[in-house]
Amino acid sequence: MIIPVRCFSCGTVIADAWEEYKERTDAGENPQQVLEDVGLERYCCRRMLLSHRETIDEVRQYSI
């Protein structure tokens, strides 16, 4: 739905890295490089962004 606030495994706050990650990878940058730049070192935190699909933009159109 929306990017989780924290990494499920270690508890690092990762939500504030999502927008930069999304923008830069959409522009064609290598995810590995972006993840390093936003300071996510561990693979538990990196998978939070790598595997995320943001659906709230679609869902919110149908709120009552």
Partner: protein, 273 residues
């Protein structure tokens, strides 16, 4: 016990500890995770939520935000008091209000502290809480109160706490490599770990060299390399979520551990028959 700070910044610290045991390192690690108190949002009153997320999801996201914690609160805080009573009485509690009209992204920085005290803004201000569309609105009050990681992990001020033995590696003789394998090894090795010069291998950084030689798959088979660890020496490292500085978290953990052990010590003294 001998402690050296290798590296510290506002969220991360690395220590080298000597003359200790894995047991002591683990006691410190577990104390940091479960017993060092910090602030986190515990009570949320939602007045209006027309967003795509349910009230409880919004409240859950708010709970996970790192709230800067004044170290002076530690002295006043009683870990055994009833949690509900603490929130109501508000020992160190911070009230935040939030009103946001869509469209737009509600962020942690939109939480406005109701106090004029400084340094109570959420530590990671850009965290998105929810995205609102047109005609959507979020209005709420949130109260941050003290708690420990033992109660809920949102109160755990530290992240990725860990320790490892200080490794050693020694090349005691000929590695038994052909010239071809030697250049293969050189190519695979991280720059700071080892230096391969013809048939000779120099260890540049013992930890990096150990990790490379000991762990890497697919490297040529090596002879005459001895791996070990320094007696009683550990690397201890952790990060904080921004609610406390690493040094404050460490000091507080040590104080809590010290207090607990003193209690056992005093009790034990009365046992002598």
């Amino acid at each position: 016990m001998n402690v050296e700070v290798l590296d510290v910044d506002d969220r991360e610290i690395r220590l080298r500890v000597e003359n200790t045991t894995a047991g002591e390192m683990n006691a410190l690690r577990r104390t940091m995770m479960t017993e060092v108190p910090s602030l986190a949002i515990e009570d949320v009153t939602i007045y209006d939520n027309r967003s795509a997320l349910f009230d409880e999801v919004v409240a859950h996201r708010l709970g996970q935000l790192p709230v800067p914690t004044d170290p002076n609160l530690f002295a006043e805080w009683d870990p055994h008091a009833d949690l509900d009573a603490q929130t109501e009485e508000g020992e160190g509690a911070i009230l935040y209000t939030l009103t946001f009209e869509g469209p737009g992204t509600v962020r942690a920085k939109d939480l406005t502290p109701a106090t004029e005290d400084e340094g109570v803004e959420i530590a990671d201000p850009e965290v998105p809480i929810v995205k609102l569309g047109r005609d959507q609105r979020l209005m709420l009050e949130a109260t941050a109160s003290m708690g420990t990681g033992e109660q809920h992990s949102k109160w755990q001020p530290v992240v990725a706490v860990g320790y490892r033995e200080v490794p050693t590696v020694e090349i005691t003789g000929d590695l038994g490599l052909s010239a071809e394998e030697m250049s293969e090894l050189d190519e695979m090795a991280p720059e700071d770990a080892i230096d391969v010069d013809g048939g000779n291998v120099d260890i540049l950084d013992e930890v990096a060299a150990h990790d490379f030689l000991y762990n890497v798959d697919g490297r040529p088979e090596l002879e005459n390399v001895e791996y070990g660890e320094e007696e009683g020496a550990f690397f201890f490292r952790f990060e904080t979520d921004g609610s406390l500085s690493p040094k404050t978290a460490l000091r507080q953990a040590i104080a809590i551990l010290d207090e607990k052990l003193s209690a056992v010590h005093e009790e034990a003294a009365t046992l002598q028959a």
